[in-house]
Structures are given as C-alpha cells and as structure tokens.
Symmetry: none
Subunit: 223 residues, 4 copies
C-alpha cells in the first residue's frame, strides 16, 4: 500500500498528475477493501466509501467505473497480494515435514492477519464467484503455494517421510479449510459453542492443532 506513495515522492520523472492519481486510486482501494470486507458487495455504500476517502464519490466513478468495477479492483488487488507475499516464503533448506509445518503456520498467520481478505473471499462465494470468474487475471492464478506443496510432497516421498499418494491440491484444500474456518466462522462458532477463538492463546492452540492434523495426515502409517 505504502509503496506507491513512497515511489511517487521518490521517482518523480513521470507525468505530473500520475503520482497523485495513483495515490488517489490507492486510497480509494484501501477504504473500499475495508468496506466491502465489512459489509459485502451489496451492503457497502459508495457514499460511505467516498466519505472516508480523501477524494469525492465522483472520482470512484472516474477511476473504477462504478461499484462493481471498484469491487473487482479490490478483488484483483487482494489476490495479487497473496502471490506477492507467497513469493517471500523460503522453504528451500528445511526438511519436508518442517517445511510443511512452516507453510501451515504461515498460512494460518496470514489469514489471521488478513481478515479483510478472508471476508472478501466469503463475499465472493456468496456471489458464487461471479466476479472472479470474469477476471481472466485471477483465473488460474497458479498460486505458488501449490508448487511449494508439490515440492514438499515429492521430497518427502523420496525421503520416506510423506506418503507418496498425497495430492498437493487436495492437501492445500485441507490446510485452507482448517485455517479459513478459524477466521471466517469465528463469530457464529464462538457464540454457538461458547468458546473463545480470539485470544492469542486460543489462536496458538488452534494453529498447533492444525499443524498436527496436517502432519499426521501426510506421514506414512508406520512413520
């Protein structure tokens, strides 16, 4: 988020209003992400978004075309960020099971730290993925995480510490499911079951349950 701003004040060889426009767009995008995450596509109000930005409602239409265009831009931005962040993951040197545990903890922590993103995915699923399906740049995003998991599985199978029949995509789904639920469904789950899911202790405990679950799942029966 801050990158654009930093770059703008630094580089400055480019056309005049460009840096400003970028800042305006980024600003709108930030607020819109929060609003759409908080209230959904239908629940969010263009007026409220505009009010919270540094510019006017009119600029939302100028830069993003409308409510749907803004929502699409928010989706694109959020999905884009994961790719970027995933790239920072370095699992190279670790033994397979340790790498896997690290990946699970990373996923858990990322989702906990990015509730907005989780909620946007929920919102998009309420809309039956109607918008991401129409965004070619998001289809087959080919998240690096799948490749990482494939590498781990292959190395682990070679070393005999991971069952050879574990499917990377299926494994990713399990990890995602376990981590996602903790953020997405925490509100109803904690009310219905009267349990705490927000404290650091609860989160840590849950995270380790998930790590354990994943490791036990991939390990060969006799390992």
């Amino acid at each position: 988020m801050d990158d654009a701003k930093t770059m703008a004040s630094a580089g400055a060889q480019r056309p005049p209003g460009e840096a400003d426009a970028d800042r305006v767009r980024t600003n709108i995008l930030e607020i819109a992400t929060e609003e759409f995450a908080a209230k959904g596509l239908t629940g969010a109000r263009i007026d409220e978004i505009a009010e919270r930005t540094l510019t006017s409602k009119r600029m939302i239409y100028y830069h993003f075309g409308g409510k749907e265009g803004l929502y699409r831009a928010v989706l694109a931005h959020c999905y884009g960020r994961i790719r970027t962040i995933e790239s920072t993951l370095d699992l190279g040197g670790r033994p397979p099971l340790e790498a896997l545990a690290h990946l699970v903890r990373f996923t858990f922590d990322y989702q906990v730290a990015n509730e907005d993103f989780i909620r946007l995915v929920m919102v998009e699923n309420i809309h039956r993925a109607e918008y991401v399906s129409q965004m070619p740049e998001l289809q087959a995003l080919n998240l690096k995480v799948i490749e990482l998991l494939r590498g781990i599985c292959e190395r682990g199978a070679a070393e005999g510490v991971i069952r050879p029949d574990v499917d990377p995509t299926d494994l990713h789904m399990s990890i995602s499911a376990l981590c996602f639920f903790n953020v997405a469904n925490r509100h109803t789950f904690s009310v219905i079951h009267e349990v705490d899911m927000m404290s650091i202790a609860a989160k840590t405990a849950r995270r380790e349950t998930i790590v354990e679950m994943v490791l036990r799942y991939v390990r060969p029966a006799a390992a």
Copy 2:
C-alpha cells in the same frame, strides 16, 4: 408445499385460521430461506420474497415484523433443524473409530445437502454473528454433536484407540472446517485452482480425505 396444506387441514382440531396462518408462515419461511441464502441479508429483497410467496408482502410484516425479523426466523428455523436431525444419529453400538467416521460422513453429507444452511452461516458471519448473538435460543445451542464426540473420545480413550488428549470441541471445529469449506468456498476455489468440486466423484473423494484426516488425527501415535 401441498403436503403442509394437506396435513394442516387434515389433522387439525384447531381453529381453521390458525392452520392457515401456520401454512402462510411456513411458506414465507421457505422462500425467505432460499432468498437470504442466495443473496444475503442485504442482497435479498422483501419484494422478491413476497412475490415468490403464496401471500402478500403485508403478511411478512404481520407475521415477522420486517426484514430483520424474517431473517431471524430463518436462522432460528435452520439451526433448529440441525438439532432435530442430529437426534436421529445413532452411533451407540459402533466401535469408536467407526462411529467417528460415520459422524464425519454424516456431517459432510448434511452440509452438501443443505447448502442453504451453509450459506446462511456465511451470511451471518459476514454480519459478525450480530443476529445469532441476540437470539437467546441459539446461544449455547448445545448441539448434540459435541456430546456425541465427547462420548466417542471417551470410549476411544478407554479402548486405547483414540488419544486421550483430544478435545471434542476442537475436534468438532476441525470436522466442521473441513466439511464447511467444501460447500462454502467451492466457487472461488474451483475457479482459482481449476478443479472440479461438484461431481459426485470429487465429493466422495474429498469426503474420504476428510475421514482419513480426522481418523489419523485422533489415533494414538503407535496405533
């Protein structure tokens, strides 16, 4: 629909208007469940619900007070149904691990068969459980499933086939998470990863992965 009518006018010793009113309420509730599940609380339209109903918009206000009242009634009805259905589960005679596997498969199948309920839970989480928190009858619903799991865990621990430190609520969360994701996030996941999640084969495979994951998680290390 017609069944309700038949039953109502047949079995009833009560004043005629009462059965009618019941039928009207049930009818509205069914349509509203579909609409709220399909479009969320903000996205659903009172006019559309009324139009699909056998009665008029006025009746929604008469019986449920308004949009929020109707939404609350829908939540109450859906959560109530789980309790009812859970009661039909008979795991008594089975050995612990078999009972657990059965419970997981039941949970998976129920969620697949009741997408509307899953989506309503998503919707409610988007609203940060604002409505279920205000419904005393839903708080501490004490779902029977927790008791079932506790029984399984205890019997399993006694028999040495389940680790003694498995927490029933934590286990329920894992099962729920794995099953829920399959319905809730199927739209985005299948688009992003270009995988099929809707075919019977895909569902069955996924279900067995989940069973496996849960069983491996609870079994003692050397079992």
Copy 3:
C-alpha cells in the same frame, strides 16, 4: 383524459383504490405528455414531471416502471387517441372529393390542435422509432384513415372524379407530410423565411393550399 375521472366518480362499484390509482396514472400521463413533447425523452426530467403531478416521483416508478416505461405509456396513449378520434369521422354521405377535402381539413386541424402529439412523433423519429417498434400494440395500428382514403379513392374512381391509380397510403403520406410540417417545422421555417405561421389567417390559408394541392393531385387530368 377526463373520461376516467368521470367514470370513476360515476360507476364506483369497483375496488376502493382503483379509481384513485387511475386518476393518479392519468394525471402523471398528462404531465408527462407535456414534458416529453416539450423537451424530448432525454431532455425531460423525472423530477420535473413528478413535481408537476399531484403525486410523487416514487409513484411514477410504481405505475410506469421508469422513464422509458412512462414514455412508452405516453406514446401508447397518444397513438390510441388518434384511432379513437378518427372513428368519429363520418364521411359516409359526402361525394368523394368533398369527403377528401373534409378529411384533409380534419387532419390539418387535428395536428394544429395537438401539437404535443406532433412533437412526440418528432421525438420518436429522433430516436429512430426505437420505442414504437417495440410496442406491438402500435405496430400495424391500422389507422382507420387508410381505410377511409381507400374508400374515397374507390368511390371517386368509380365516379370518374379521382384518378384510378392513386394509392391510398401514398396519398395519406402526402397529406400527413403537408400538415405535419406546418406544426413540426414552424419554428425554424418562420425564422429562416421571416413569415408568420401562427396567426389564424396564416393557418387557414395554408390549410386551403393543402386542400387544393391534394384535390388537384387526385383529379383526373381532364376533370
């Protein structure tokens, strides 16, 4: 216009709000006719129309669906009126040429008296008949005037006072063109040519020119 009102206060055996609703619709229609005729479809403002009616903007949407729906209703109403009015024309007893002259004068007078209708037709032509083409009830309106002209031509031909090769539709087009121009183009024509087209004298003179032109056109060369 007044019919609905009259009937409503007279008949009164029907459901309660119906007469009122009719009056509301009629009122909106009247104002809308004026506004669309005065400023065109794009130029007219829903707010202004609403302000001039006895009800609110919301009612326009309730009864007519929107700006286009209202415009369509206005077109339907105006075209419908001609049919009705044409039916009052009684040319039966007159000799062909006299009947024709009468019809021309009637057309001229009707158009002069109904400038709004003329302007709506202009507006619709600016829109390339986009709306009337989509109104099945207006296509092949089968205006009675064509039948009247056909009758006149046939009788006239039989009596030898009208050329046998005059086509009724072509003749109608000529009459329409001559009358229409007088209302439709009066503003630019009178400015460009500095002539009066609004005085009663000017209108009468013009009307007789048109009658003359039409009669001379249909008469056999040697008649």
Copy 4:
C-alpha cells in the same frame, strides 16, 4: 482527414498553428454534427464527441466555448452548406415546369443525402428554434431557392403554364414539407404503416409522386 492535413501543411503560407487549428475545428464539427443529429442537443454527450475526435475535450471548450456553442457552430455550418450548394443549381435555360420539376428532384435528393441536416432541423424545432433565432447570420438566410421559385413562377405565369396566384414561399413550404417528411418521419411511418421507405425503388416512386403533386398544383386548371 489525412487529405486535409496534407493540403494544409503543403499549400500554406500561413502560420502552421493556424492550419492545425482549422483542422481541429473542422474535425470537431464533423463529429459533433453526427452526434447532435443522431441524439439531439440533450442526448449528445460532450465526452462521446471528444472521444471520437482526433483531439481532446479541452479543445471543444477552447474553440467553441461549450456544448451550446458547438451546437450553434454545427447549425451555422449546416445551414451555410445549403446556401453554397443551392448556388450550384442552374435552372436558367429550362422551361418553367421542367425547371420546377428539376428543383423538386434536387430538393428531394439533397434531403435524402443529408439526413444529418434534416435531423438537426428536427432537433432545432424540438427546441422551438431557440438557437437559430439567436443567430443573426441565420435569420433571413434568404435562401436562393425562394428566388429561384419566384423566377420560375413569374416565367411560368408569363408563359401561361403556371397559375399566376402561386406564392413562391408557400410553394417552397409545400415542396419542403413533402420532401422533409420522407426523411424525418420515415421511422415511425414505416413501422405504423408497415411500408418500405428506404429502398431505392420506394424513394424514386415517392419522389415522382411529389414532382407530380407540385406540378399539378401550379398548372392552370385547363392546362
């Protein structure tokens, strides 16, 4: 477009910017004519005009002051063109009736070929000639056609082939009305009466009807 550029930069002794400015003005004017003719003054969009232009929106404001200024310029340009074109008409040598027929055919053909102009006149009449009235250069444009008609009538009267009481302006109005209708009202007329007005055959037939009508109108009764 490119021709203009070539010619401008080639033949010109003038300051280079001037030719450019001319080119820009002409380009804007052409596009604006199309847009105003297509959608009317209210319906046309400055943004759309600018987009279709080779330059930017700013230039419209620079050269024409705004939407109304541009519309005025378009009117001036179109009316100016008729005068120019009318001047090419040479009826001198022909006998009066032949000259008249020629003039009618010319008028008809010009209007068919210049639909944009016809539509602009319609648009201006929708605005009750509000703009042409305020353009001194258009008032009393003294179209040459009136003079031509006066000449024809006088010669014809002298020769006894045209009634002496035919008024040139009135005759012009009749010719205009008959020709104008064919272009202006073709959309509604062809829909309502289910007739073809666009084919070459239909146009030719209609043109000859008009010629006939005009000639019969001016000829002395016994001619």
